[in-house]
């Protein structure tokens, strides 16, 4: 069977997306071909990422940060998984060559840089465990993740519709309020 391709994406491709890449390959490398990239990659993977993963027996020391252009548009992916909020904000909504996009947003372990190495490592352990849990859940219940995605889309769609209706109501009200002989009344677009 052909392996499914997965691309994890975050801003710098130095921490969360690297942890995710390491876990998915470790847990299901027989079924998935795993990649990671960043919108704005750093020069090196964060040392705490390598250390936190080696604590759970996974070696990611050979992994390195890469830009989005390394893969995107050059090959097809079954899944694009965005793992940080900034990447989600800065990313285009539509990617070439992607079948399904998930947003799994994890908190940035480097949210403030000026902390001692050990405290930083502790944060990496936390996010490492969250990522592992998320990936294990997905592997065990892939349909749940798709269902969530569909529900999320449907919710967004309804919100957009509600806004459109509200705007239409506002406009209709404005039209009502115009005097009978007002020019604009006759030029007002007909509302659906």
């Amino acid at each position: 069977m052909r392996k499914q391709k997965v691309l994890f994406l975050c801003t710098q491709n130095s921490a969360r997306s690297q942890l995710a890449e390491g876990f998915l390959r470790h847990l299901a490398g027989d079924r998935f071909e795993v990649y990671s990239a960043g919108i704005d990659p750093t020069d090196e993977i964060h040392p705490c990422a390598v250390e936190a993963m080696s604590e759970v027996g996974i070696d990611i020391s050979e992994q390195y940060p890469k830009g989005l252009g390394t893969y995107l548009g050059k090959m097809g992916f079954n899944y694009l998984i965005i793992v940080c909020a900034r990447a989600e904000e800065r990313c285009p909504k539509s990617f070439p060559g992607v079948g399904t996009t998930f947003s799994w947003v994890f908190e940035d372990p480097r949210r403030d840089e000026e902390i001692p190495y050990d405290s930083m490592l502790e944060r990496f352990r936390e996010v490492r465990d969250e990522i592992e849990l998320k990936i294990r859940n997905w592997l065990e219940h892939p349909e749940q993740e798709l269902k969530k995605l569909r529900e999320e889309r449907e919710r967004e769609r309804r919100e957009r519709l509600a806004v459109t209706r509200w705007e239409a109501d506002e406009q209709a009200q404005r039209l009502e309020d115009l005097p009978e002989d007002c020019q604009e009344r006759h030029h007002f677009p007909v509302l659906a």
């Binding site: 391709k5 539509s94 070439p96 449907e154 769609r157 519709l161 459109t164």
Partner: protein, 142 residues
Amino acid sequence: MMTEKARVLFLCTHNSARSQMAEGWLRHLAGDRFEAMSAGTEATRVRPLAVRAMEEIGIDISGQESKTLDRYLQEPFDHVITVCDDANETCPFFPGAQSRLHWSFEDPSKAEGSEEERLAVFGRVRDGIRDRVQAELVNGGG
């Protein structure tokens, strides 16, 4: 919640590539809310490069077949969507269609070059179809 799925029929001349990919995308993106079908003014076969382009991103359309549109003429549809310019011109009137749309996409089967180059064209059309399906059907008002 919607009680019945919206029925969508994608049409192109040969029902071999664009309409097949559109059918695959709609089912993949929102098969819970839409019933996706496709047909052509002539039936041929699903192009292997269309199957491959969809397979690259994890959507299996190898089980879909190329069909003529006669069988659908009398059926009710929420949307009948032509995805090639020929079909838009030559397609018959669908009395049961609530809306008739035309989405124009380049014909990937006209691509020239190596197999990989042609596959890349299919991939580009595939992505364009996804964006349209996503924006106008999946995210749409209906």
